[in-house]
């Protein structure tokens, strides 16, 4: 028990990848064997979710600092260590990751036939990469996890993707890699500064927070370092105008890939800002905050506009992600407890509702092998259960009060309004456009007469598909009606975060 509690974070992080190794030894030739492999993978992800629930329950919400810390030397000459820990912010994101992974697996149950074992293995390795990045307290360790995520995602898109998968996966890989290389340079610079100022190399985050990076306007070390980090994170978010990898990657990725990509991977961008870019370079951050707030607002409106005219449902959802994640950036740079809490909450919401939307698109695609909005129409009459679920997720996406989306957007907008009225109002128009593109799409897909004969005999959701969507629907309402379950865990950490970055 002692061992379990002391290493629970390592267990959660490496559990998926290590257990997934076992999958590779199972046969996956016959349908029956395939079923076993799939069930095993699902079992692993559920186990990890279960353990992370313990983590959640045991987390002491009154403590702002890191908990369940594990610390071991790794490359001691450079002060690099294997150091993990969880605070209120990473806690909720861990839960999001472990929650969405089994859903993604179950959601793509029948969609993958080729190289099934490898596919499942990669998804679980990806989970490890993401979880590691959320808990790493050593900046080099973080970087390792950060880059390690790219490989499974690259393969998932490139091997199991759609028609233009090679182009999309290369674009995804190079785009994100270019961003993070500058961050690596900045990390080295930061570590050497630590040596200059404090006498030894260290990559430990808590040590690096103490480094005083000279700040003097735009062309000073701190601003440039901030921008180097920000580039990596902004691409991941993705922040306008660095978002163009996202629609391609989403459209080509298999459903599970899209769910994880939108649901969790993008959150690492927002998380990176919170954990690294903000506290390491607080002055520079405040210096450029207005620019980033503007970019966030542009992303909100621009993403919504572009989403409005998409003929492909999946692309529409991809651009809606740009819009929703713009709220996260706006909130973070507003630097008050309402907006920042809203931003973290919005990251969870976006994971749930956009993950749900991608699953829904996947369900339509599996039935009709098309995602063109034009091809559909009148589906409500044919698939009534699907219609109800789709409606609920749509409402969550347009932030109706009572659903999760509202809590996030309300807090962000109210917080941002106290910082900058004009930007908050412009961002607020995103609430209108959000309703426009989602409801218009919903109408064209679900309402009207059934014009296309191919749609006349679509089957409503199977039990498996209902099981995939049920946790999403439950999360939408629980997070919308009882947000304090999650907000209360974050509150102390966010307060500490704000006092740290507001200098």
């Amino acid at each position: 028990m002692e061992l379990f509690t002391n290493h629970i974070v390592s267990l959660v992080v490496f559990g998926p990848a290590l257990l997934a190794l076992g999958l590779l030894f199972l046969p996956d030739k016959t349908p029956q064997q395939k079923h076993i492999v799939k069930s095993a993978a699902l079992g692993i992800s559920l186990l990890v979710f279960f353990i992370s629930c313990f983590l959640y329950a045991w987390f002491d919400a009154s403590q702002p600092g890191f908990q369940f810390v594990e610390n071991r030397g790794w490359i001691e000459a450079f002060g690099i260590s294997y150091s993990l820990g969880v605070d209120g912010i990473s806690l909720v994101l861990i839960l999001l990751t472990t929650f969405l992974t089994p859903i993604a697996l179950l959601g793509s149950w029948n969609a993958i036939e080729e190289k099934l074992k490898t596919y499942l293995f990669l998804i679980l390795v990806l989970e490890t990469g993401m979880l590691g990045a959320f808990v790493a307290l050593d900046i080099i360790l973080f970087y390792v996890f950060w880059e390690a995520m790219l490989i499974p995602m690259y393969l998932l898109i490139g091997v199991w993707g759609g028609k233009d998968r090679i182009y999309a996966s290369m674009k995804f890989f190079v785009y994100t890699l270019v961003g993070s290389l500058l961050m690596l340079v900045a990390i080295f610079y930061l570590m050497s500064m630590h040596k200059m100022q404090l006498g030894n190399y260290s990559a430990a985050l808590l040590d690096l927070y103490r480094v005083k990076v000279p700040f003097d306007g735009l062309w000073s070390a701190q601003t440039l370092l901030f921008l180097a980090f920000a580039l990596a994170f902004a691409i991941k978010v993705p922040l306008f105008p660095l978002h163009t990898w996202l629609p391609d990657a989403h459209v080509q990725a298999p459903t599970a890939g899209s769910v994880i990509l939108a649901g969790v991977l993008l959150k690492l961008g927002g998380y990176g800002f919170i954990r690294f870019a903000f506290p390491l370079f607080p002055q520079a951050m405040q210096f450029v905050a207005p620019v980033f707030m503007c970019l966030g607002v542009v992303a909100i409106v621009y993403g919504a506009w572009v989403a409005m005219v998409q003929p492909d449902i999946k692309k529409l959802v991809a651009y809606s992600s740009v819009s929703h994640m713009g709220f996260v950036i706006l909130g973070l740079f507003s630097l008050n407890s309402l907006a920042v809490s809203g931003s973290v909450y919005q990251m969870l919401n976006h994971g749930i509702s956009t993950g749900g939307l991608f699953l829904i698109v996947g369900m339509l695609y599996e039935r009709r092998h098309t995602r063109e909005i034009e091809e559909f129409g009148g589906i409500t009459r044919i698939m009534p259960i699907f219609a109800v679920i789709f409606m609920i997720v749509t409402l969550s996406s347009i932030a109706l009060p009572g659903t999760n989306g509202f809590v996030g957007e309300f807090l962000i907008l109210m917080g941002a309004y106290q910082t900058n009225k004009v930007l908050a109002v412009v961002a607020g128009t995103g609430v209108i456009f959000g309703a426009v593109y989602m409801l218009w799409m919903f109408q064209r897909v679900m309402f009207g007469p059934v014009k296309n004969n191919e749609n006349k005999h679509l089957k409503d959701l199977s039990l498996r598909e209902i099981c995939v969507m049920a946790p999403i629907i439950a999360a939408i309402f629980i997070m919308g009606i009882f947000p304090n379950i999650f907000l209360s865990k974050m509150d102390a950490s966010i307060k500490a975060f704000l006092s740290q970055v507001k200098v």
Binding site: K171, V174, Y175, P241, H243, T244, W245, Y302, W305, V306, M308, V309, Q310, S337, L338, S341, G342, G378, T380, R381, L395, L400, P401, G402, F406, V407, F410, L411, L413, M414, Y417, Q418, A424, V425, G428, T429, V431, I432, A435, V436, L439, W440, Q443, M446, F447, G448, P449, I481, F482, P483, N484, L487, S488, D491, I494, K495
Partner: protein
């Protein structure tokens, strides 16, 4: 107990929503009606409890749970039952119950009545949350919730794209207003650090004189934008006439009696803030008066029975805004209540007509219906008299109260101007309502009463709802159970007629809660709006007299035109062809919005995507990629794979190194 008022319709919604496919139309209707009746009983009990309390502390509170807590921002799910809420809850549950019962008959031939009743219950839940909410975010929760139900119910027959579009339009236009509402909320939070109504009131009282009125004006103006959306005022009224695409009970409940009055309610709820911002108040009453007149002129020319009532609703909501805009909050609520009675009655009456006429909505294809539908006619006529301001009926008192308040408001010339506009509107109202009633119920039938409904190719049937099987052919007579074997016009069943009668009674006597000078309602609302009905001087009687004259003239002209000399309106129409065309086409406002907002937005979005996103941003990205590829291709020239070339490179390198070393040793 307050929680239970909310719980009943929610449970009803869940039962019908989850088990709906197993329930018959009648069971679903009974469940939904019982749920709302439960809320009505509890409201009545709370009402009694409330009236037993001392006037200064007249409010019951209940916190259900903590909703959102962030740092110092605390938002409990708080319900508060005060005199204003008591009135609103009574209207919502009382009129709501009658409409639920009526729907059992009206929706009996629908394809999915449980779904309909589930939505209706969900609406009641949201509407009750709206009026019970003790702070702005809960009010907003209800506000958006009723918007959602409105969307779902307008597009209830979703297989008709026009109806689905009408639902979407309602939602989107309301969202525009909601943004204003949100900004208002944020501004108030910035100023007072709380969103609780009671605390806001204390905050206002505590900082009296030190408030930034400019900022407060911004807040109230933004809140009013929210009200414009929900309560269909210029320029955001455009969704309401389209909303008539929904089933008629929905039009009665949501788009006449309850939801659309939410904007008025919100302003009355925040009256203590609005009174501090005279500029906003002026705006409110101005927009209200303008909307009242504008919508009334459109109503005159419409041929669709529900469209006339829809514009009438827009117009009457304008009256309510005039009232609250001049600070006569109790008068606004008074008209809200009476309007809920007579407009629900009129809508349900029109539903009865549409039901009996097999989905016909064009009044020009009706006529003489009083012989075929005597009960519907009688109740509809009472509704018409009430809205037209026939003396001693409910609309007479409430409208008169508004006219008097507008005239005597301390706003300089604005008061009499508002009064004049409202009086002209009253004249038009009496006229177009009389026109509607006469054209529908008087004269000779302009249809064949024997064969109506038997021919599927009948004028209206082509665009009617074959998806919901309402009243057409299949099983129609069997289900009806009031035994006429042939198609033809018929009176509605009792389950529909009884609610009409109850509402007709209420429309007659409803005015007595607000007798001029002795208003029970104004006294009751005193603790909320801080106002007691003052003395009505001789001016009041003059204004009342003018109202009576106006009402009779309007009705008289209407009767003369459409019963005595039906050829006159046609001549007028011919002589004023242009005016008629503009009015009939609703001033082309929808076309204007489409041309100036919707289409440009689509164009801009298209440009953003095709040009900016694909060409500029992605073009740059790909150009960078091409650049590195180009660099690679240039440097590739050095690595040709030919050993001789490498040998030459080696030789050059060797020579250079040796040369450098030699150079070094020499010096």
């Amino acid at each position: 107990m307050l929680g239970l008022i909310l719980a009943f319709p929610l449970i009803g919604f869940l039962i019908n929503g989850i088990f709906g496919s197993k329930l018959s139309a009648k069971t679903a209707g009974i469940i939904a009606s019982s749920a709302i009746f439960g809320s009505f009983v509890l409201t009545a009990a709370s009402f009694i409890q409330l009236s037993g309390l001392d006037e200064s502390s007249r409010a019951i509170e209940q916190t259900l749970f903590q909703w959102i807590t962030v740092d110092t921002f605390s938002l409990p799910f708080l319900l508060r039952f005060d005199p204003l809420t008591a009135i609103m809850c009574s209207v919502v549950t009382g009129v709501g119950f009658l409409i639920h019962v009526y729907s059992i008959g009206y929706m009996s031939h629908d394809r999915t009545p449980p779904k309909f009743f589930a939505y209706l219950n969900l609406f009641s839940f949201a509407m009750l949350a709206l009026v019970l909410g003790g702070n702005l975010p809960i009010l907003f929760l209800g506000w958006e919730g009723v918007g959602l139900c409105s969307y779902l119910l307008i597009g209830y027959w979703y297989e008709d794209n026009e109806k689905a579009s009408a639902g979407k339009k309602a939602f989107v236009v309301n969202r525009i207003g909601d943004l204003g509402f949100l900004i208002g909320i944020f501004t108030l939070y910035g100023m007072f650090g709380t969103l609780d109504f009671a605390q806001l009131k204390q905050g206002v009282a505590a900082s009296a004189g030190n408030l930034d009125i400019g900022l407060l004006t911004l807040a109230t103006a933004c809140l009013f934008v929210g009200a414009m959306g929900k309560s269909a005022q210029i320029p955001l009224y455009v969704w309401l006439p389209d909303a008539m695409a929904g089933p008629t009970p929905v039009s009665a409940l949501i788009h006449a009696a309850t939801m659309v009055t939410a904007g008025v309610y919100m302003i009355v709820r925040l009256n203590f803030i609005f009174v501090l911002t005279p500029d906003t108040m002026m705006l409110v009453s101005g927009i209200g008066a303008l909307t009242a007149l504008f919508a009334a002129t459109i109503a005159i020319t419409q041929r669709d029975i529900k469209k006339v009532l829809a514009y009438s609703t827009v117009s009457q909501l304008g009256y309510m805004f005039v009232a609250v805009g001049v600070g006569a909050f109790a008068a606004g609520v008074f008209h809200l209540v009476t309007h809920a009675f007579f407009k629900a009655l009129l809508f349900l009456g029109s539903g009865s007509v549409i039901h009996g006429m097999h989905e016909e909505q064009d009044i020009m294809k009706m006529g003489g219906l009083r012989k075929y539908m005597p009960k519907t006619f009688a109740t509809f006529a009472i509704g018409t008299l009430a809205i037209a301001g026939f003396p001693l009926l409910s609309g007479f008192f409430s409208k008169d109260e508004i006219l008097y308040s507008a005239f005597s408001s301390h706003m300089g010339l604005a008061g009499p101007a508002l009064w004049a506009v409202c009086t002209v509107t009253a004249l038009l109202t009496a006229f177009y309502m009389t026109r509607l009633t006469c054209v529908t119920f008087f004269g000779e039938p302009r249809f064949n009463p024997k064969t109506l409904g038997s021919n599927p190719g009948h004028a209206h049937a082509s665009h009617a709802h074959d998806d919901h099987d309402h009243g057409h052919g299949r099983g129609h007579d069997d289900d009806h159970g009031h035994g006429h074997a042939k198609p033809g016009v018929h009176e509605s069943p009792n389950v529909m007629v009884i609610p009409l009668i109850v509402l007709a009674v209420l429309s007659i006597i409803g005015g007595f809660i607000g007798l001029p000078g002795h208003s029970w309602l104004a006294h009751w609302l005193g603790p909320v709006v801080g106002e007691h009905s003052g003395e009505h001087g001789s001016m009041a009687y003059l204004i009342m007299a003018i109202s009576v004259v106006v009402s009779f003239v309007g009705m008289g002209v209407g009767y003369f035109f459409y019963v005595k000399r039906p050829e006159v309106p046609k001549k007028v129409q011919q002589n004023f062809g242009f005016v008629h065309k503009v009015l009939f086409n609703k001033y082309y406002i929808d076309e204007l919005y489409n041309f100036t907002i919707v289409q440009p937005l689509k164009k801009v979005a298209q440009v953003c995507w095709m040009y900016f996103d694909v060409l500029v941003v992605d073009g740059t990205v790909l150009a960078v990629a091409r650049l590195s590829k180009f660099a690679g291709e240039v440097s590739r020239l050095m690595q040709t794979g030919a050993i001789q070339v490498y040998a030459v490179f080696i030789l050059i390198g060797l020579l250079a190194t040796v040369g450098y070393l030699l150079y070094g040793t020499i010096h």
